[in-house]
Amino acid sequence: PLVKEHLYQLTMGEAAFHHLPHPSDSERLRHYLPRNPCPTPPYYPQL
C-alpha cells in the first residue's frame, strides 16, 4: 500500500495539476504579438 509520504505526494500533485505550466512561461515576453490561446474550430490548421 502507498505510504503516508506517497499520499501526500498525490495530494500535492493533484493541487499542482490545476495550474500547470504554460509553454509561454518558458518564453520571452512578447510585447507586440503575445500568445492568446483560445479554442479554434477543429477544421482549422493547428500546426
Binding site: P1, Q9, L20
Partner: protein
C-alpha cells in the same frame, strides 16, 4: 532570521530601482549600462559588503518576487496573459540582475567566484521554494520559481565567451538544484520540474552540445529521480488524472530522447530499469528499444534469420552503471565470485534465495540486487565463453557455474521471485549485441531444460506481456519469442498453458500471426 534593521526596505528599494532600469530604453545593450549604475547603488547601500548581506539580499529579492506573483495570481479579474506579463515584468529583471552579477563576479578569468555565486543564488531560490512548498502546501504556485530557473538557464547559456568558459559548471549547478527539487521532495513543483528538464535548451546543452557526453550522467540522474517518483503510483496502478498526465508527459520526453539520443538510453538502460516498476511495460520497452543510430537492425521477421551469424553479437553494449558494486553485501559478492570460479560450495546455490529476499515494506525481493546478480553472472559467463574461443549458444552456455545459478533461481524461487528473475533477464533483450544474444539463449535454454511447466509458463508470460503492449518492441524480445514459437525443439504449441482458455489461445495466435 534576524535580518539587519533596514535591509528589507533597502532591498525593496533596490529591486524596484533595478526593475525600472531594466525596462528603460537607456538600459543599454544587455542592460550593461544600467548594471554599472546599479552596482554603484548596491555598493552605496552596503549590500555587497559581506557574504552574509549578499545572501540575505538575494533571499529577500526572491521572496519579494514570489510574493508579487502570488498577489498577481490571486487577482481573479485579470486574464492569465496579463497576470503572467505582470509577474514576468519583475521576474525577468531579477533574472537579468543575477546573470549579470554572475558574469561579472570576480575578474574574467576567475570562474570559481562566478560559479560560487551561481550556486549560492540557486540554493537560495531552491530554499525559498521548499519553504514555500511546506508552508503553503496545496496553495503552492510553481510559476515564479519555474520562470526564474528557466530564464536564468537561458541567460547563462547565451553564446558569450565568459559563459562558454563556465558552461559545464553552470550545467552542473542547475542539475544539482533540480536534483534537490526532484518531484519526491517538491511534488507541487513536479510539472514545472519536468518542463524544466525537458526544455529544448536544457536537453540541447545536456545531451547534444556538451562535449564527450559529459552531461549525460547528470541528465540520467534526473530521469532516475522522475522514475523513482512515479514508481509507487505506477506499481499500484494508481493512475488518477494528475498522475496519468505526468506519466504521459514522461512518455513524450522519452520519445524525444529515443528519437534524438538513442545512445543515451542505451548507455543508461540498466539504471533506468532498476527504478522502473516491473508493470510499466511500455515505458520500459521504450527504453529497451533504443539502439545506436549507426546500427542497421536486421528484420526480426526475416525467415531463417541466423542470429548466430550477426557480427554485432560479438560486441558488448556500453553499460554506464557499476552493477558489480550493487551486489551487496561484500561477503555475498565474495561468495558469488568464488562460486562462479570454482562451482563450490554447493550451499551457495541453496542460500541464494534468502540472499535475494527483502524486508522492505511492499517488496519481498531485493529487485536491484536481483538485476545486478543476473547481469553480473551473465557478463561473467560471456567472458568465460569467449576465453575458450567460443561464442554463446545453447550448447556453450550450458553446464557452467553461471547457468547453475540461473537454473537454481528458476527452480527454487517462488512465482513472484521467478517473475522478477526472468524480468531481469528479459531486460537485457535489446539491440543486437553480446548481452542480448547471451540472455536470449539463456531464456530459451531455461525453457527447454525446465523441469516444471510453471517455469515455461512464466518465461512465456514475461515475453508475452512485453509483446502485447503497443509499440515499440525491442529487437531482442522479438527474435527470442519468434525462436520460441517457431523452433520445434521447444514444442511451444504442445504446452497446456497455450490452450487453457479460448482467449489465451486467441492471444497467442494473434501474437504469433504478427510475428510470422
Amino acid at each position: 532570521i534576524d535580518d539587519p534593521p533596514g535591509l528589507h526596505e533597502k532591498t525593496e528599494y533596490l529591486l524596484r530601482e533595478w526593475v525600472n532600469m531594466y525596462h528603460s530604453p537607456a538600459a543599454g545593450r544587455d542592460s550593461t549600462k544600467a548594471f554599472s549604475a546599479f552596482v554603484q547603488q548596491m555598493h552605496q547601500q552596503g549590500i555587497l559588503k559581506t557574504d552574509d548581506l549578499i545572501t540575505r539580499f538575494f533571499r529577500l529579492c526572491t521572496e519579494m518576487c514570489v510574493d508579487l506573483c502570488y498577489r498577481a495570481l490571486s487577482e481573479q479579474t485579470h486574464s492569465p496573459t496579463l497576470i503572467r506579463a505582470k509577474c514576468f515584468h519583475t521576474l525577468d529583471a531579477f533574472v537579468r540582475l543575477i546573470a549579470l552579477l554572475v558574469k561579472h563576479s570576480g575578474d574574467n578569468a576567475n570562474t570559481v567566484t562566478k560559479i560560487n555565486l551561481l550556486n549560492k543564488v540557486l540554493g537560495i531560490v531552491a530554499g525559498v521554494l521548499l519553504q514555500d512548498h511546506e508552508v503553503r502546501q496545496t496553495e503552492f504556485q510553481q510559476l515564479p520559481y519555474h520562470r526564474i530557473f528557466i530564464m536564468l538557464f537561458i541567460e547563462l547559456n547565451a553564446p558569450e565567451h565568459i559563459l562558454e568558459n563556465i558552461n559545464f559548471q553552470v550545467l552542473t549547478a542547475f542539475c544539482n538544484t533540480f536534483h534537490i527539487l526532484r518531484p519526491a521532495k517538491a511534488p507541487g513543483f513536479a510539472y514545472a520540474w519536468l518542463e524544466l528538464i525537458s526544455h529544448r535548451v536544457f536537453i540541447g546543452r545536456m545531451l547534444a552540445l556538451t562535449p564527450q557526453q559529459k552531461g549525460w550522467g547528470m541528465y540520467a540522474q534526473l530521469l532516475i529521480d522522475l522514475f523513482k517518483f512515479l514508481s509507487p503510483f505506477l506499481r499500484n496502478a494508481e493512475l488518477n488524472k494528475p498522475t496519468h498526465f505526468l506519466y504521459k508527459g514522461t512518455l513524450r520526453v522519452l520519445l524525444v530522447l529515443l528519437h534524438d539520443f538513442p545512445e543515451f538510453l542505451c548507455d543508461y538502460h540498466y539504471a533506468f530499469c532498476d527504478v522502473i516498476s516491473p508493470n510499466c511495460i511500455q515505458m520500459r520497452n521504450l527504453i529497451l528499444s533504443a539502439f545506436p543510430r549507426n546500427m542497421r537492425l536486421p528484420d526480426p521477421f526475416t525467415p531463417n534469420l541466423k542470429v548466430d551469424m550477426l557480427s554485432d553479437i560479438q560486441h558488448p553494449p556500453r553499460i554506464l552503471s557499476n552493477f558489480a558494486n550493487m551486489i551487496q553485501p561484500p561477503s555475498f559478492k565474495k561468495d558469488l565470485d568464488s562460486y562462479l570460479k570454482t562451482r563450490s560450495p554447493v550451499t551457495f546455490l541453496s542460500d541464494l534465495r534468502s540472499s535475494l529476499q527483502s524486508n522492505e515494506p511492499g517488496s519481498r525481493y531485493n529487485i536491484p540486487l536481483m538485476n545486478a546478480l543476473v547481469l553480473y553472472a551473465g557478463t561473467q559467463a560471456i567472458q568465460h565463453i569467449h576465453t575458450k574461443g567460443l561464442t554463446p549458444s545453447m550448447s556453450t552456455i550450458a553446464h557452467s557455474s553461471h547457468m547453475d545459478i540461473f537454473q537454481n533461481l528458476a527452480v527454487d524461487l517462488d512465482t513472484e521471485g521467478r517473475y522478477l528473475f526472468l524480468t531481469a533477464i528479459a531486460n537485457q533483450l535489446r539491440y543486437p549485441n553480446s548481452h542480448t544474444h547471451y540472455f536470449s539463449c539463456t531464456l530459451l535454454y531455461l525453457f527447454a531444460e525446465a523441469n516444471t511447466e510453471a517455469i515455461q509458463e512464466q518465461i512465456t508470460r514475461v515475453l508475452l506481456e512485453r509483446l502485447i503492449v503497443n509499440r515499440p518492441h525491442p529487437w531482442g524480445l522479438l527474435i527470442t519469442f519468434i525462436e520460441l514459437i517457431k523452433n520445434p525443439q521447444f514444442k511451444f504449441w504442445n504446452h497446456e498453458f497455450v490452450h487453457c482458455a479460448p482467449e489465451i489461445e486467441k492471444l497467442f495466435e494473434s501474437v504469433a500471426r504478427s510475428c510470422m
